[in-house]
Each structure stands twice: as structure tokens, then as C-alpha cells.
């Protein structure tokens, strides 16, 4: 990659502030550090990853509202977590967390455990019980 070819494909993913360093060769073939405002393929990939996240959050939300799953499942998606990660945050086994995603089981959780979920998701207890 030549110095002039260092991509400057800025988009709002970088919020205009974040410039990365890339190594590229100058006219005499020596490597130099050049700042890059972003790169199109990476922007596409990032965009796509976020779209996937948003879709999953939306689907989870609809299922919570339909009473199929508990807010635990919704907030897990919203915090980009998967089951193993969430389980380690609340210090439970994966099968236990899975159970807590059932609305019936969720209703009966102790305040202490609910607080642990709220902490893991960084939301208040009220927000945990009633998704916004």
C-alpha cells in the first residue's frame, strides 16, 4: 500500500474523531506511519455487525412484549452479550440463566439476583423489570 492509497473513507462510525495509524510506503519505498480516517470494507463489516445487533435487539423486544421471554434475554442482546458471557457476569450456570429468560421464572427471582442482572446490564431495577 502506497502512502497515497491509505484509505480515507470516513463515515459517522468514527464520529469524525477517531483516526487510526496505518503503515504504508512512501515514494522511495520506505514505510511511514500515516493516519487513516477509515476504510470502506471495514465500515461495511462494522455496519453489518451493528445491523445484526439491532435486529436481534428488536426481535427480542418484540418477544418480551408478547410475553414469550423475560427482559433478561432482551438486555443480553442489547449489551452485545451471549449466554456464556452473561452467565459469568451474574455468576450463574448457563442453564440457570436460560431458565431466567422464561417470564414465569423471571417473575419469581429474588431481589438480590435481580439486582445482579441489573448491575450486569447497567440499568436500574425498575428498567430491568419494565423494559423501555
Amino acid at each position: 500500500m502506497k502512502k497515497e492509497e491509505v484509505p480515507q473513507d470516513s463515515d459517522n462510525l468514527h464520529e469524525g474523531t477517531f483516526k487510526q495509524i496505518m503503515y504504508a510506503v512512501d515514494n522511495s519505498g520506505n514505510y511511514v506511519k500515516v493516519q487513516s480516517a477509515g476504510w470502506e470494507p471495514e465500515n461495511i463489516a462494522l455496519d453489518q455487525a451493528w445491523e445484526e445487533v439491532n435486529e436481534r435487539v428488536k426481535a427480542a423486544r418484540a418477544r418480551v412484549e408478547a410475553g414469550e421471554i423475560s427482559p433478561v434475554a432482551y438486555y443480553m442482546e442489547k449489551n452485545l452479550m451471549d449466554l456464556p458471557l452473561l452467565a459469568s457476569y451474574v455468576g450463574k450456570f448457563q442453564w440457570q440463566v436460560k431458565r431466567h429468560m422464561k417470564p414465569g421464572v423471571f417473575k419469581k427471582l429474588s431481589p438480590k439476583l435481580l439486582q445482579r442482572y441489573a448491575d450486569a446490564f447497567k440499568v436500574s431495577l425498575t428498567d430491568l423489570l419494565q423494559i423501555r
Partner: protein, 334 residues
Amino acid sequence: MTNSFFQHNQTAHCESGVISNLLGHYGLQISEPMAFGIGAGIFFGHLPFLKVNGVPGTTYRIWPGAIFQRVCKRLGVRMESQKFSTPEKGMQALDKVIEAGIPVGLQSSVYYLPYFPASYRFHFNAHNLVVYDKKDGQYLVSDPVMDSVTTIDPESLAQARFAKGFPAPKGKMYYPVHVPPTASFEKPIKAGIEQACHFMLKVPIPMFGVKGIRFLAKRVANYAENPGDRKATLYLGNIIRMQEEIGTGGAGFRFLYAAFLQEAAVLLKKDELSKLAGELTQTGDLWRNFAFAAGRVCKSRSADNVSYKELSQMLLECAASEDAFFRKLAQVKW
């Protein structure tokens, strides 16, 4: 020495950047590419069974922490490294060390670092940064991939240091306790190159090194059937993102390694290395072309069989090019 201002240099990659900045603070000047090369950072691996959010992992460099260990060992740097059972203990220990004027390297999760743009904040637990002071209740941070120094509040920093998941940082902090004032790079460079060649060519596991690139190529060729269109674009997207991994120029660390070879050529007066650097630059450009093509497939959201076959072909070309390159590098006579 200890109270001098911390010199922040923006670098492409966090681990080699922290090494360069930390050792530079103690007067041992080592550039980022040099640290990356001596630490034999270049690698390839595709791990279909190691999934994050349902997407198989791909890496273009050695596992986190390895570059650091190797550089320290090869240059005779002694590090103090600690992990903690609770955030309270971890933050207390950090305060004590920075109070003594010692800049500290920290392993942390990108997800909890508020100074990054929101779109970059995924659960990635192997990010490295340096905290060099504390003022008005805020920690002063030199994050090597950032333009300039920044600050972070104690709560976010504690969360970032004690994030759960793989690999769990457990508050890991490290700082040099002995740095030789000067070091000869000659032997470390050779050792680093030998190790890199070994990892790229000789590890007897099909997912690693040049073999790993071919392994990925085979799987990409079948992406239309397995895992099927919708997931395949996510898989491809992840390959691109790992290839870029903040600032490596889209060539999966290949340009960074080429820059190292160039520097080594001057130091050791070996023109051969600089010629090889030129070849690796071309390989890096092949990788960039692959990312462009893969990006187009991602954007169109579906691909016919032909385009997966084409992508697979491009990967095979990358593999062939790297195969030839590392074989030549392994045969350089010292």
C-alpha cells in the same frame, strides 16, 4: 526518570504500541514494528469451533500477550505483572504504583472504554493501554491506538479491567522493574524471525499458519451451503474486521511486519531483508483486495456460488504468496 512526562506515540496496534511507549519511557527506544517483529507477532489462524456471537474466529496475529512476553525476554526487560481477585484490590494497587510515578500497562475490555467511538465498543477483552497518572479523580490514559492522551473515570476503568468473558483480564496490570539502558537488537531480531517462520510454516495443525489460510479458503468456497447466505455475510464481515483490527491498514499486520523487516535490514545491513519486505508489501495488497471483494459480497447481502469461489481463490493466492515469502525468510543466512 520516574516523574518525567509520559511520551505518547500513536501506533497501529495496541500491544506492540504499549511495548514501544512503555520501554521508550525508560530510555529504551524501540519502534512499534521492531517490537512486533522481535515478538514474532505475525501469524494466521482460523478457528471455526471458537465462536464469538456465533461467528468463527479468525486471527492475523499471535495470541494476546505473546508479543509482550517475547520482547521482554529477548531484550532482557523484567516486568512485574499482577492479577487481582476483586476490583477494589486492583484499583488500590494501581493507585499505589502510579503514585510512585510509574506508568502502568493494563489489560482491558474495549466495551467499557468511553473514549472510543460507540461503534467500536464490542466485548473485546485483550486491549492494552497505559495509565500514567491520576488528576482530579480521573485517570490519565495513553491508549496507543488513540491520536492523543485522554482520561477515564475510575468506574469505567474498573469495569474495563474486570470485564468477564474470554480472556478475562482480571485486572491485569504490568510495569517494567528493570529495563537495560541499551540493548542490541541483532540477536532478538533473528530469534523473532525464526520463530515467526516456524509458526507460519511448521505448526502441525491445519488451522494455523499458511495451512490455516488454505483451510479458510476451503471453507469460504462452501459458504453458500454452509453456513448459508445470511450467516456467510456475517462470517465474511468478521474476517474483514479481524484483518483490519484497528489500524493495520487492512492487510492483517502484513504491512507492519514488512516495516519491521525494512528496519531490520538497515540495522543488520542485510539488503535481502529489505527485498523481502517489498514482497510482503505485495502480499499485504493481495489481502486488501480480498477485503474489498469480501466487502462487496457483504454489502450485496447475498452471493452466488461463483463469488464465494472467487473469494476462495483470492485466499489461495494469499496463501501461496505467504508460503513463498516465509520459505525465503526462513532461509536467510545470518
